[in-house]
């Protein structure tokens, strides 16, 4: 293998797309040892690979199992590279509080959105599943998030999404956060009706939506 950093970045990206967790870890260690810039290795290697995986998901060449293994590889690489980030690269990233609404434990959709958001440079605060509306508000305030992302697969929990927005209004915090909703039973019409800022039917669309809402270049 050539010692050019670009070759290493490409290899990292390929290892992520190739779902090869072990190889991604090894290449990340190699990057640390050879002293290449950790930030660039993450951006042009790991994140580039995850974005390619996201494109393959959008074109239905990859499905959820493949995307999960790609993300495992990405996170394995991040574990190695992140401690070596120079301070000026650890600037604040826009924060998204994300979770599955109370009464539902289906969290694959939420997890995919989280993975793709992180690959796009957002910091996510993942509350998990079966989360009461009040906690979304508390956590968003506590972490000074810009976006609250609500997911559900069950129609029974849709009211919980509306309640989050109600709680924000009551606390006069509605303007402070962008609220996005998604999941099987959700539609744009529902998002409009409860006064959400946006809806997406899938993970890649959710990332574009968040970028738009917080004004980050896509």
């Amino acid at each position: 293998m050539s010692n050019q950093p670009e070759t290493l970045y490409r290899a990292l990206s390929d290892a992520v797309v190739g779902m090869d967790e072990e190889k991604t870890r090894q290449l990340s260690e190699q990057a640390v040892q050879t002293g290449v810039d950790a930030y660039t290795a993450i951006e042009q290697g790991l994140v580039d690979g995850m974005n390619r995986a996201g494109q393959l998901f959008e074109t239905e060449e990859y499905f959820i199992p493949e995307l999960l293994l790609c993300s495992d590889a990405m996170y394995a690489g991040l574990d190695v590279l992140r401690p070596h980030l120079k301070r000026d690269h650890s600037v604040a990233r826009p924060k998204v509080v994300i979770g599955v609404v109370e009464g539902d434990t289906h969290d694959i959709g939420k997890n995919l959105v989280k993975i793709m958001l992180e690959a796009s440079g957002f910091e996510t605060i993942d509350l998990g599943r079966d989360i009461p509306p009040k906690r979304f508000v508390e956590e968003a305030v506590k972490h000074e998030a810009q976006v609250i992302a609500l997911s559900t697969l069950m129609t029974t929990t849709m009211d919980g999404m509306a309640e989050v927005i109600q709680l924000l209004r009551q606390a006069q915090l509605r303007e402070r956060f962008k609220v996005i909703v998604g999941g099987g039973p959700i539609s744009q019409a529902f998002a409009d009706r409860i006064g959400a800022d946006g809806y997406s039917s899938g993970a890649p669309g959710a990332v574009k939506l968040v970028k738009q809402l917080v004004g980050v270049a896509a």
Partner: protein, 351 residues
């Protein structure tokens, strides 16, 4: 016509009064009887009373004894949470690692979990109204049950890393399903299959062929050997696997509202009856009766001439709180269209 008479005549190409219509009523039946959803747990008599009451209230064409997708997985050890008055959901899988697969056993439908209560419900419904309406027992597909046994994300990763373990889980789930199918038949009902996780919203068509298809086919072969027709429902996106779904031998495909019935008709309509696909959440739960009517007419426009026939249905089980007026509107729309279907009149607005 009774629903059974309607289906029999429709199948032979004889005159009928209207297309068969199935708003898929599960726990909504609790509302008709005025009981809490959680009261169904372990109570076959109550499930039966509610299903019979809902059928009599709305007059649809298939009764499906169904509360949630987890009954078989629960009978094999998965943990299910029962909210006071909403549909149950999976609290945790039966096992958390491949090493523990050896601990799992196929469920005994007469003994384990809530399966005996469901069989009791099916027998009671069959006894009460089985002479006039088809009574189905919900049967969860092996791949979906496998995902509840070890957790969906776990299973997704194992498909690529340890496919043999996934097959082991599917095999166990399939043995449970076959035993349950036999029991459902002995209760006088017909199993109707749902394999939610086989959707291409989740797995690839190739993964469906490998992990979903073989087990579905075994169950459907068994149903055919018992002289029963098989209905197969898969949620979410399914277009890339319609042919594979037909290859399972299923006689009827029940499609989610993510599917277009006209497209399904042209691809597999010469092989299978189509059932669908009024949106359960956006239209049936949140829409108006006028929107329900429009959605029914869209389904009928798309597939009334399906070579193997059409059942106007909701795209999935109805949400518990679906307004009754929307269920009534669905039946009314199908009656209004009548038979034979007159395509130009489908475009007319309501006066």
């Amino acid at each position: 016509m009774t629903p059974l008479e309607r289906f029999a005549a429709y199948g032979k190409g004889q005159p009928i009064d209207r297309l068969p219509c199935v708003p898929i009523v599960g726990n909504t039946a609790a509302r008709v009887l005025g009981v809490k959803v959680s009261a169904f747990r372990g109570n076959g008599r109550l499930i039966a009373d509610a299903q019979i009451a809902a059928y009599r209230r709305f007059g649809y064409d298939v009764i499906r004894v169904f509360t949630d997708l987890y009954t078989q997985a629960e009978a094999m050890g998965a943990k299910v949470h029962y909210p006071d008055d909403e549909t149950a959901y999976l609290a945790g899988p039966a096992i958390d690692s491949v090493a523990r697969i050896a601990r799992l056993k196929p469920a005994d439908p007469w003994r384990d979990g809530n399966l005996p209560a469901h069989l009791d419900a099916m027998a009671r419904v069959h006894q009460a109204v089985g002479q006039e309406v088809p009574v189905n027992g919900a049967l969860t597909g092996p791949f979906t049950t496998a995902s509840f046994l070890i957790g969906t994300e776990n299973l997704a990763r194992l498909m690529l890393k340890e496919p043999a373990a996934v097959h082991q889980l599917c095999e166990l789930a399939c043995l449970s399903a076959l035993a349950y199918a036999r029991a459902i038949l002995s209760a006088g009902c017909t199993p109707s299959l749902t394999d939610a996780m086989c959707s291409t919203t989740v797995i690839s068509p190739r993964q469906f062929r490998e992990f979903g298809f073989p087990y579905l086919k075994r169950i459907i072969d068994f149903l055919h050997s018992q002289g029963r027709a098989a209905t197969l429902h898969i949620c979410g996106k399914t277009r890339p696997i319609w042919e594979a779904m037909a290859d399972t031998g299923a006689d009827c495909l029940s499609l989610d509202n993510a599917a277009n019935l006209a497209e399904a008709k042209s691809k597999v309509g010469h092989r299978v009856r189509l059932m669908g696909n009024v949106p359960p959440s956006e239209i049936m739960l949140q829409g108006t009766p006028a929107q329900v009517r429009e959605a029914v007419r869209a389904c009928v426009r798309q597939a009334h001439d399906n070579p193997k026939g059409l059942i106007v249905a909701s795209g999935c089980s109805l949400p518990v709180e679906t307004p009754w007026k929307n269920i009534d509107a669905m039946l009314a729309a199908v009656r209004e269209i009548g038979w034979p279907v007159d395509p130009p009149s489908l475009n007319q607005a309501l006066n």
